[in-house]
């Protein structure tokens, strides 16, 4: 983790991922009166995943606004607010419901700066609770980040740790353009060190969480933790894995990935979104299109979600997305040359 020196001086405390986001939201609300939170049930109820919590009591209903149950309407309101000078942060209850708001996100927020010749910008932040593992079935468990990564004009971010969740949210607010933050629901309760006060984590910069020499595992969100767990097991077997947390899906930090694969010669990509036409394809392509191609010594393996809606049955739900065992077997295969 890279943190500015001033931040390191402040005491480090443990916060959950959800608390770290709330911390960032509170800092933003306190620092900048243009910042407003919008979303369904984010007020008195505290948000579907209790991320906004008590913020309505601390900052009032004019700053923490419950919106009607219409994602299209709420998102449109947020885009308009951003266009006219506010700094809105819009929360979806589930990222799946973004399907209802696509017009506002894709056709308006992402396009307006370009279509108006740079005369305006849309400094909008949207938060999407995403991913499976909660038994919420097919319409509440998807990982759609790659969809948004396909749209020029949007930035798409996935924090894996409480530290990054706070730092990336504050960086998103500083950004003049729309930033989509995908938050894996299983991470909300995970804890980690989070400094007090303001700091940012750069958007568009991946992090090497573990250095290694035999294989590169590029992972996003919860897969970062599974990859790190797998790496410890692999270390016992003499396989030295490098784990990269991609952190930003768009713009993707190809340099960090290319440099790593040029060193390790092998690549496994682990992500929760459906495997086909996903993040893994983009990471793989950036390797085979780069100078790292000549260093590849094994086929690239993409570990992504199954080609199916996320099942309700908890065992099938687990089977539908990569687990530690899948990462282990993929890495063993590419390192031992049996795959």
């Amino acid at each position: 983790m890279t943190a500015p020196a001033a931040v390191l001086d402040s005491p480090l405390r443990e916060l959950s991922y959800a608390e770290a986001i709330r911390d960032a939201l509170a800092i933003a609300l306190a620092e900048d009166e243009r910042v407003v939170l919008m979303g369904e049930d984010i007020g008195v109820y505290g948000g579907a995943f209790q991320v906004s919590g008590d913020l309505v009591h601390r900052f009032g209903e004019e700053r923490v606004i419950d919106t009607p149950i219409s994602e299209l309407g709420g998102a449109g309101m947020a885009v308009g607010a951003a266009l006219t000078g506010l700094r809105p942060i819009y929360e979806f209850q589930f990222s799946d419901f973004a399907t209802l708001a696509m017009e506002q996100i894709v056709n308006q927020a992402a396009k307006l700066r370009f279509m108006l010749g740079g005369a305006v910008s849309v400094p909008l932040v949207m938060r999407f609770p995403a991913g499976s593992g909660t038994g919420a079935a097919a319409q509440h468990s998807q990982s759609l980040e790659a969809w948004f990564g396909h749209v020029p004009g949007l930035k798409v971010v996935q924090a894996a740790t409480p530290y990054d969740a706070k730092g990336l949210l504050l960086a998103a607010l500083d950004d003049p353009d729309p930033v989509m933050l995908f938050e894996h629901k299983l991470l909300y309760k995970t804890k980690g060190p989070v400094p007090e006060g303001r700091y940012t984590v750069p958007i568009g910069k991946a992090e090497v969480c573990r250095t290694g020499s035999n294989v590169t595992i590029v992972a996003t969100a919860i897969m970062v933790h599974r990859a790190l767990e797998a790496a410890e097991v692999l270390a016992q077997e003499g396989i030295d894995a490098e784990v990269i947390d991609l952190r930003t899906v768009r713009p993707m930090d190809r340099e960090t990935v290319v440099a790593s694969v040029a060193k390790t010669s092998r690549l496994v990509v682990a992500y929760e979104g459906v495997r086909t036409l996903g993040i893994g394809a983009e990471v793989s392509a950036s390797i085979v299109e780069s100078e790292a191609f000549d260093y590849l010594d094994a086929p690239i393996v993409r570990l992504g979600g199954a080609e199916a809606p996320i099942p309700y049955n908890p065992e099938l739900e687990k089977a539908a997305v990569p687990q530690v065992a899948d990462i282990l077997s993929a890495v063993r295969g590419v390192v031992r040359g049996t795959r």
Binding site: D294, L296, D297, R336, T338
Partner: protein
């Protein structure tokens, strides 16, 4: 229904195996439990038994080919069973017969027997290789077609090219130092009587079968004794050796050609490692294994001594090295040195042995690890080691599992069979008696 023969998983992290040799020819009869083929993995070679009795058909994987575990490689038809079409590819078994849709009156002719296509098509013109392998080969002007790939379907990885580069580098000095590769079987010396199970002896590096003389004199005389000369040693041809495995294969060939059963193996140093490898692949034809100061149980070794021995071209340069082999230098007499030099006077033999040392013991490291084979060993086995061994540290013996007997000899170096022939003979004799069902008499002393 024919019984399918699949590539078994014989090793924890094995994902594929290479078929070393088929013991049964296509169409030949085989009994359940008989050896059917040998497989080689990264770590070991072993024999696989036939899962059924009958005739072997549709052999899909030839010797030398690598097959994923669980994949069907052949089928065994019960006696009298009609040989049908080759079943489709994999472990799912033969494809079901198409139900009789044939027009009335059409006779059901047996379908022609053609072997199913191999799972991965051959592209001899275009080798399968990773980008890294291609890059390295291009930079070094190496032809990929000449490189054997170790990956699935023969895919060449960077490591394969690196190996090829090392080998091409090593071949130059060997050609310059003037030994010509030769062919033909290893030379086997037969001695002793004709009663009882045979003793098979495999000498060590830079030695030959004559080195067993002192030990033989202390052993019972009625048994047949078979002594194998390693390639480029004694009178055996100078066959190119690219790895421990290829050397072991030559020894197995020589053993097989003798048609021995219930053999008691005795090996010294490198020969002990080869005897262990032999016992590992021919467990049914080996009754016991005695390893004298074996190689292959750890990486450490005295590389200077080994290369000094291989290089020495005069008795003056040979003697100091020879004296390091034994605990008591006076065992190495002037006449012993002269005899040893006589056997080594051919510069081509010395050049061959230097190259062999570099292949097996690169950078003074024992490149092969036989501890997994030792762990697998089910026959009675014993290790004899001199506590003053200056070639391999005797503590490598502690790698052996508990059921392997360990005899540590005092005041003995790397040559127990020369330094303490009576003790070594007693250790071997006790094993022979145990195998023959006689009470074991512990030698006095």
């Amino acid at each position: 229904m024919p019984v399918e023969v699949i590539m078994p998983k014989v090793d924890m992290d094995m994902t594929s195996g290479t078929i070393a040799v088929w013991h049964v020819a296509e169409g030949a009869e085989v009994q359940s439990g008989e050896p059917l083929f040998d497989i080689e993995t990264d770590k070991a070679a072993m024999e696989v038994e036939s899962p059924a009795s009958g005739r072997l058909h549709h052999v899909l994987a030839e010797a030398g080919s690598e097959v994923a575990i669980g994949k069907a490689i052949a089928w065994i038809y019960a006696p009298g069973e009609e040989v049908g079409a080759p079943p489709e590819g994999s472990a799912q078994g033969p494809a079901p017969e198409t139900p009789g849709k044939a027009a009335a009156g059409e006779t059901t002719a047996p379908r022609p027997i053609t072997p199913a296509p191999p799972a991965v098509p051959d592209h001899p013109a275009k080798p399968r290789a990773t980008p890294a392998a291609r890059h390295l080969a291009r930079e070094n002007a190496l032809d990929l077609a000449a490189i054997a790939g170790s990956g699935p379907a023969g895919r060449i990885a960077r490591g394969d090219v690196e190996r090829a580069l090392r080998e091409s580098g090593e071949q130059l000095p060997s050609a310059a130092s003037g030994w010509q590769p030769e062919g033909g079987p290893l030379v086997v010396h037969r001695a002793g009587g004709s009663t009882g199970a045979p003793l098979v002896m495999i000498h060590g590096f830079a030695a030959d079968s004559a080195g067993w003389q002192k030990l033989e004199a202390c052993l019972p005389t009625e048994r047949p004794v078979v002594k194998i000369d390693l390639p480029g040693h004694g009178r055996s041809p100078r066959r190119p050796v690219d790895s421990f495995r290829s050397l072991a294969r030559m020894v197995v060939e020589a053993f097989d050609a003798e048609g021995l059963d219930g053999a008691h193996l005795v090996g010294h140093s490198l020969g002990a490692a080869l005897a262990l490898a032999l016992a590992d692949v021919r467990p049914r034809r080996v009754a016991s294994l005695t390893m004298l100061a074996p190689a292959g149980l750890g990486p450490e070794m005295n590389g200077a001594l080994l290369s000094g021995l291989a290089r020495a071209g005069r008795k003056e340069s040979l003697a100091p090295w020879l004296k390091q082999l034994t605990a008591e230098p006076q065992i190495v007499t002037e006449s012993f040195v002269m005899a040893a030099m006589q056997a080594r006077k051919d510069p081509a033999l010395r050049a061959y042995q230097q190259d062999l040392a570099e292949t097996l013991f690169p950078d003074s490291v024992q490149s092969f690890d036989l501890t997994p084979a030792l762990d697998r060993l089910a026959i009675p086995a014993q290790v004899v080691w001199g506590r003053k061994d200056r070639v391999f540290p005797w503590k490598q013996a502690l790698q052996a599992p508990g059921r392997v007997a360990l005899h540590l000899l005092h005041d003995t170096g790397h040559m127990p069979h020369l330094e303490a022939p009576e003790e070594v003979a007693a250790v071997i004799a006790s094993r022979l008696q145990a195998a023959a069902g006689q009470p074991v008499v512990t030698p006095a002393g």
